[in-house]
């Protein structure tokens, strides 16, 4: 029985989890820890160098919209094109750049999530078979992480703002799920839907889905902290770090929870259920009715 159950849980799901876990471990190992260690170990000279790198990256990728001094720009009518980045803080930079929303391709109702541009793409594949390829990828990834850190440092140096949360603050395993559920339904579900599938806002804007592939716990935290785009801000004094962790715990556990009743139909509620009722239910039964009342095909009839 166990074996059958395991088979039913689809073999590739297991591999996917294992792969994701490996990738995450790799990312933490190769990325964060050496980085911070190095930053602490080396002195102020290195820090200045990093700031320089951050400014360079800023000038190259961001200044065209946000202005050379990150003061923001306005169009001829005085309508803001891009906001000032002074005082937005490292968390905001990390969220916008690591989800690929910034640098934006073209201004629209809303900046969509996309692959981060190569200099900042910290999620590239590194598990190549060939040693050379793997090393190159790992190097590129390390560089991307350093670039991102430098950019964060540069923007922070312009004005203080919320910082990137430490990994322990976003660990979904230690949050209070029950509280998180309550807070999620009261403060998040109205836009992002009860399971984080997203929803519509005015004027073609939308609250993005919060699935595994969309947003990491750190990014969820940063989004609450900084209120990107149309999203309101939930700072650490309104919803404490503990509350935020509870929300993250709830969301992550919910999106990882299987659907006990079968296919979840996108978990968006009665609209897709009604559609399924008509298309699958009535559809199958009409086919059955047609079969039951069908005339006999000629070839089956006795001559």
């Amino acid at each position: 029985m166990r074996r059958i159950t395991a088979w039913r849980r689809r073999p590739w799901a297991g591999y996917a989890v294992v792969l994701a876990a490996l990738a995450a471990i790799g990312a933490i190992y190769a990325g964060f820890s050496p980085q911070t260690g190095r930053a602490e170990a080396e002195g102020t000279a290195a820090a200045a160098q990093d700031l320089g790198n951050g400014k360079q990256l800023f000038n190259k990728n961001c200044a065209s919209c946000h202005g050379l001094n990150a003061e923001g720009t306005k169009d001829a009518k005085g309508k803001p094109i891009a906001p000032s980045l002074i005082g937005v803080g490292a968390a905001s930079v990390d969220f916008q750049v690591s989800t690929g929303r910034m640098p934006a391709m073209n201004p629209g109702a809303q900046m969509p999530r996309k692959e981060p541009i190569p200099p900042f793409d910290t999620s590239i594949k590194t598990d190549y078979e060939e040693k050379e390829k793997r090393e190159a990828a790992e190097k590129q990834k390390a560089q991307a992480e350093k670039n991102l850190a430098d950019l964060r440092a540069y923007i922070s140096s312009l004005g203080n703002g919320p910082d990137v949360p430490p990994a322990s603050a976003v660990d979904p395993k230690t949050g209070d799920v029950a509280l998180g559920g309550k807070l999620f339904r009261t403060n998040c579900a109205q836009c992002h839907n009860f399971t984080g599938q997203g929803g519509a806002l005015t004027g073609g804007k939308y609250a993005p889905p919060l699935n595994n592939s969309d947003v990491t716990p750190t990014q969820i935290y940063e989004a609450m902290l900084t209120g990107p785009q149309a999203m309101p801000v939930f700072n650490d004094t309104t919803l404490t770090p503990k509350d935020k962790q509870a929300i993250i715990a709830y969301l992550v556990q919910t999106r990882e929870e299987p659907n006990p009743g079968g296919n979840g139909l996108g978990r968006i509620g009665p609209v897709s259920e009604g559609l399924a009722g008509w298309l699958i239910g009535i559809g199958l039964l009409v086919l059955a009715a047609m079969w039951i009342t069908a005339k006999k095909p000629k070839k089956l009839k006795k001559p």
Partner: protein
């Protein structure tokens, strides 16, 4: 009506529309002298269905070809066996596996049980259904038959007879002759019909002034008694009172309740009071905030509180866009402008969200009074 029925009895079947040619010119090709130069299969061969056959039973009264009937029987039997296996599987899973380790508790086991029980059940029913259908189509030898349809109406004589009996009974009973009897009977039965409606009175209390105040009123009154300026706002879910400095980030939004709503309200009333008192607190950038006339001091540097209950039909209007400062109700898309006293921008709601007067006390944000108008959907006595 009855006359119509009778009159049409014969004609009722006259759906047949072939009446005398009217306006037709009878253009038909004169075929005999023409030469056929190409003969693809005639149209009737394209019809996949056998001519003159109506649905189902193969034989239609003919003797079945015994060999193919045997085959069909075996197919049907296979499906019946499959259905048998399905139900046996259902029972076997239930008894043998579903109860292991203390029974089905939690998502994973519920998923497993739903999959097996439902799958076996579906298999069983569908296999039976398919088996029976094949049986009907391939093995039943009933002939199609013709039956007459009859008009449901009784004939004239019966109707007249009934009328006679009916009137005779009425006369015998005396009800036609004795108006006093008739009228008092009607009089007596009229209030009898109303009685059950009266009984429904105790279904609920009268509305009185209940819809005009919320728990904020009681809480503020309590605070005033203690010599305070107002009641503190606590975050819904964590019950944390909010300082002005806590809520200083422009673009912030949070759902708040009056402090003490969980403690000072009888337990069964908490949801009911919450349903009226629930409020959204928004930090609108001070330079964009346009306080309404008479409400200049209802906000604290752009921190403003509106009822979360939509004025349309009462959903929580909670969707705040910090870029446009729109408050949107996710149920019917009523949209309010947070910078401008929550005036309606779009959608079916007719009135702004009521605003809660705020102030500062000991660094905390407090509400200094109840809403000045009833919250939630409109009603007749609202004014």
């Amino acid at each position: 009506m009855s006359d119509d029925n009778k009159d049409d009895t014969g004609a009722a079947g006259s759906e047949e529309p072939r009446r005398g040619a009217r306006g037709g010119d009878g253009r038909r090709e004169e075929a005999p002298r023409e030469r056929v130069i190409r003969t693809p299969s005639p149209a009737r061969d394209k019809e996949l269905l056998a001519e003159g056959d109506i649905s189902a039973p193969a034989g239609a009264g003919e003797q079945l070809d015994e060999a193919s009937a045997k085959r069909a029987e075996r197919v049907v039997a296979t499906f019946f066996l499959l259905a048998f296996a399905g139900s046996v599987g259902f029972i076997a899973y239930y008894i043998g596996w579903s109860g292991r380790d203390g029974g089905m508790h939690g998502v994973d086991r519920a998923r497993e049980s739903n999959f097996w029980l439902g799958g076996m059940m579906a298999l069983s029913f569908l296999a039976l259904a398919i088996g029976v259908t094949i049986w009907v189509r391939r093995l039943m030898t009933s002939k199609p038959i013709i039956q007459e349809r009859h008009l449901p109406a009784a004939d004239e004589e019966t109707r007249a007879g009934f009328n006679e009996d009916f009137m005779e009974g009425a006369v015998d009973s005396g009800i036609t002759k004795r108006p006093l009897l008739r009228r008092t009977l009607l009089l007596a039965s009229a209030p009898l019909g109303l009685a059950p409606l009266v009984l429904l009175r105790d279904l609920g209390p009268l509305p009185e002034k209940k819809l005009r105040s919320t728990f904020w009123a009681k809480a503020v009154e309590e605070a005033h008694k203690q010599g305070k300026k107002g009641v503190r706002l606590v975050v819904d879910g964590t019950n944390r009172p909010l300082r002005v400095s806590d809520f200083s980030s422009p673009g912030s939004m949070i759902t708040v309740l009056p402090e003490g709503i969980e403690e000072h309200v009888p337990e069964e009333q908490v949801l009911t009071e919450t349903a009226k008192a629930v409020t959204i607190l928004i930090n609108v950038p001070a330079d964009e905030f346009k306080p309404a006339k008479g409400r200049e001091n209802w906000h604290v540097n752009g921190i403003v509180a509106y009822s979360k209950i939509c004025t349309h039909v009462g959903c929580p209007a909670a969707l705040y866009e910090q870029t446009t400062h729109h408050i949107l109700c996710p149920c019917h898309q009523s949209t309010f402008d947070a910078t401008n006293a929550a005036k309606v921008v779009f959608g079916p709601a007719a009135r702004p969200l009521p605003q809660l007067p705020l102030s500062v006390e000991d660094g905390y944000i407090v509400a200094t009074s109840d809403y000045h108008e009833p919250i939630g959907p409109s009603f007749w006595e609202r004014g």
